[in-house]
């Protein structure tokens, strides 16, 4: 055995799967062969090549590139009782996410090369989904002084953002964008003008008025986006709007793309799967930032996904323990967990015929990979063997108690969804198999 070690390359073949590759437009039944960490062959009958390969009978199932989740919070370092690289990695694996990018709002924040290196080391040790990180745009996420963006990027930071806070000061944002442009770096913004949002916690309208909750006008989003678009025009930097949720902001981004600005954006499942009525009787699990919006805004998000204005769907995974959510509404933390539900909730867009299957999967794989300039998100020979085998139609009930994530804060409990991950593979290693 020892003598043959060099040749003992891990070989895995998926037989008779419905192969789905948004990058090439492939949607056909066939085999896919993995050798080592890479995809060795795609399509057709590969049984001849598959001798001494582990075989997965994938008949009736879909095989696609692993999900690339461009916005998660993993709480490590600093709040490992809510989530960690490991628990988040298990949640990602169960959700079909093979690559995820963490926000820098940890404790300490990712504003220093040492923290980027720490995260990379932890991800290597844990060896589940691939973990990348953004770095803070400003030191301490305080919105004043630029971080060492060049060095942080050289050490692996994929983009720059102050996480769940907007870079509020226009001059600071201009310098962040201008400096980022010098190194061709990506800047991501939380789209909310904080001086207008004030102490608000839900979207302005009848529901906020009835509940007596402090409200944020939806204009707080478009004001920040339009300001930033002007700054992008001045600087030319690559700019990404995170979790867009309003019709107005989506329209502005649509126009900016027409004008040729280097702008992209994503949204998250709550913004197309829920509207503000989910708050009900002060459900803190439905407290998000940006807040859940009106039905008209939800429809606009779906339209933005349909027409390509919105480039990507991210889980916006924001784990919180009970102590952070079992509080009066205004004291409760913002955000919900999403890694284990992003695929089935996104598939609702397909089942409801808003998008075709390849078009939807592109938003979860190839598009975010391209924005992040990562060589993943495609079923191509030589590409990393990051794969998800799933049944797009299988029905199941979301039960947060079953989540692998340490935190259970999801407003989707008992929601009937369709589409279940059967197996998740990262670099040729199976990191998840459905066992029930």
């Amino acid at each position: 055995m020892g003598a043959k070690r060099d040749h003992a390359v891990n070989r895995l073949i998926f037989r008779r799967a419905r192969l789905l590759d948004p990058a090439s437009g492939l949607d056909a039944t066939g085999d896919l062969l993995v050798e080592g960490e890479r995809i060795a062959a795609v399509g057709g009958d590969l049984s001849a090549a598959a001798r001494d390969a582990a075989t997965v009978d994938a008949e009736g199932l879909c095989l696609m590139p692993g999900l690339v989740d461009m916005r998660v919070q993993l709480r490590e370092p600093g709040a490992e009782h809510m989530e960690s690289i490991e628990s988040g990695g298990r949640a990602a694996a169960a959700g079909g996410v093979t690559t995820m990018v963490a926000l820098p709002n940890t404790e300490p924040p990712v504003d220093d090369v040492s923290v980027v290196e720490f995260l990379a080391r932890r991800a290597r040790e844990v060896k589940l989904a691939k973990v990348h990180t953004y770095a803070a745009a400003t030191k301490g996420l305080e919105g004043r002084e630029l971080t060492e963006m060049g060095l942080l990027a050289a050490n692996g930071a994929l983009g720059f953002t102050d996480g769940v806070k907007a870079v509020a000061d226009a001059l600071v944002m201009r310098r962040v964008l201008a400096y980022a442009r010098s190194f061709d770096l990506l800047v991501l913004q939380h789209p909310e003008e904080p001086s207008l949002a004030g102490a608000g916690e839900v979207s302005e309208g009848e529901i906020a008025t009835r509940l007596g909750l402090a409200a944020i006008t939806p204009a707080a989003e478009i004001i920040m986006v339009e300001r930033d678009l002007r700054l992008v025009e001045i600087t030319g930097a690559r700019y990404h709007v995170a979790h867009v949720s309003t019709a107005a902001a989506i329209a502005a981004i649509r126009q900016a793309k027409v004008r040729g600005l280097p702008v992209t954006c994503d949204t998250a499942p709550p913004y197309f799967a829920l509207n503000e009525t989910a708050i009900g009787d002060y459900r803190t699990f439905a407290k998000l930032s940006p807040p859940l919006r009106s039905e008209a805004d939800r429809q606009a998000v779906i339209e933005g996904l349909r027409d390509g204005t919105i480039d990507a769907i991210a889980s916006d995974h924001a784990p919180w323990d009970q102590d952070s959510k079992r509080l009066p509404f205004s004291s409760a933390a913002y955000g919900i967990v999403g890694l284990e539900t992003v695929l089935p909730l996104s598939l609702e867009l397909y089942h409801h015929r808003h998008l075709d299957l390849l078009g939807l999967l592109r938003l979860l794989t190839l598009n975010p990979a391209q924005i992040l300039r990562l060589p993943v998100g495609r079923l191509a020979v030589g590409a990393p063997a990051d794969l998800v085998l799933f049944d797009p139609d299988l029905e199941w009930l979301i039960r947060p108690d079953d989540f692998r994530s340490k935190s259970k804060n999801a407003p989707f409990d008992e929601r009937l969804v369709r589409g279940r991950v059967e197996r998740t593979v990262v670099d040729g290693r199976t990191i998840f198999r459905h066992d029930r």
Binding site: R210, G212, L213, L327, P328, F329
Partner: protein
């Protein structure tokens, strides 16, 4: 399911808000309270209805008037009333609202009367305890006993609620009193107006069933009741209105503005008043027009009625949550 006697009204376990109460529920409280008004005017005021029952007034926000009113109400009915001021003690030590609820629950109270600065907090607390909960004001959400006492005050003077036109004036944005009154008056068939500068009105307030005015002259024209709201001091100087002087000039109640209402229009205020800010002293103290002191009196009677209703045996069938 077998149903014997006609269903008793008010089959709610808690009183968390006016929202969700029927006209029968409201009339039932008011009818019962009417009787207590008479009792309270006698020399011998004590009843034994709540003997052996424990009522905890749990106030996470300072209040003298409401707390005292509940305390008097509970004691007049013979209950043991304990006052707890939580703002200063446990919240500072990091105890959560749910911890506090569990602690109080373990003492087996029969009624918890709760005031909290955050909207929805009383609702949250009510889910964690076994006893009845009365919302004595939660954030900018509801203050149901205030709306009930206002309704009793109006009904005793005007003989009815339905068909009246009521103008609620001032800081509607932050007012739980306004929300509860809007719900109650609409339920009882009154017409409700709100009058305020736009900075003090929440978005889509008209969806709650009110006519919106930004000018007192129009807003008060032909109304039966003028209900003034308190303007919190932190909102007076530039943040929501430019100054108390300007506010009083345009939105404060004086005889000039009151003249536009019906000749027999009555004035109300939930207290405590800011004299010279939202209401002029001469109007506030006009014994023919101002019901402000009656409101305080009705407050005790209404709270007695609420305590009675929430502690009585619900009989057959489960309570409505």
């Amino acid at each position: 399911m077998h149903r014997g006697a006609p269903e008793a009204p008010f089959r709610h376990r808690h009183l968390l808000g006016i929202e969700g109460l029927s006209p029968d529920d409201i009339n039932h409280v008011l009818d019962l309270a009417d009787g207590y008004v008479e009792l309270n005017r006698q020399a011998e005021k004590k009843r034994g209805l709540l003997r052996g029952r424990t009522i905890i007034n749990c106030f996470f926000e300072n209040s003298t008037r409401t707390r005292t009113s509940f305390e008097v109400a509970g004691k007049r009915l013979g209950g043991d009333v304990i006052n707890m001021s939580v703002s200063a003690s446990s919240m500072v030590k990091g105890e959560t609202l749910i911890d506090t609820a569990m602690t109080l629950n373990a003492m087996h109270p029969d009624v918890l009367v709760v005031r909290h600065p955050e909207s929805g907090a009383v609702h949250l607390l009510s889910e964690k305890v076994d006893c009845a909960v009365v919302n004595a004001g939660d954030g900018s959400h509801e203050h149901p006993t205030q709306a009930l006492l206002d309704a009793l005050t109006i009904r005793r003077r005007k003989g009815r609620l339905g068909g009246l036109t009521v103008a609620i004036c001032g800081d509607v944005l932050h007012s739980r009193v306004a929300r509860s009154n809007i719900a109650l008056l609409n339920t009882m068939g009154a017409r409700v107006r709100v009058v305020a500068p736009r900075t003090l009105l929440p978005a889509e307030i008209e969806r709650l069933g009110v006519e919106v005015f930004h000018d007192m002259a129009r807003g008060l024209a032909g109304v039966d009741i003028v209900m003034m709201l308190r303007l919190q001091s932190e909102r007076m100087h530039g943040s929501f209105v430019p100054s108390t002087r300007e506010y009083f000039h345009f939105f404060g109640l004086d005889y000039d503005k009151l003249r536009l209402a019906k000749p027999d229009a009555l004035i109300m205020h939930p207290g405590p008043m800011n004299r010279g800010v939202e209401i002029g002293s001469e109007v506030a103290d006009d014994i023919d027009r101002s019901l402000i002191r009656h409101q305080v009196e009705m407050g005790v009677a209404v709270r007695m009625a609420c305590l009675e209703i929430l502690t009585r045996d619900l009989g057959n069938g489960p309570p409505v949550p």
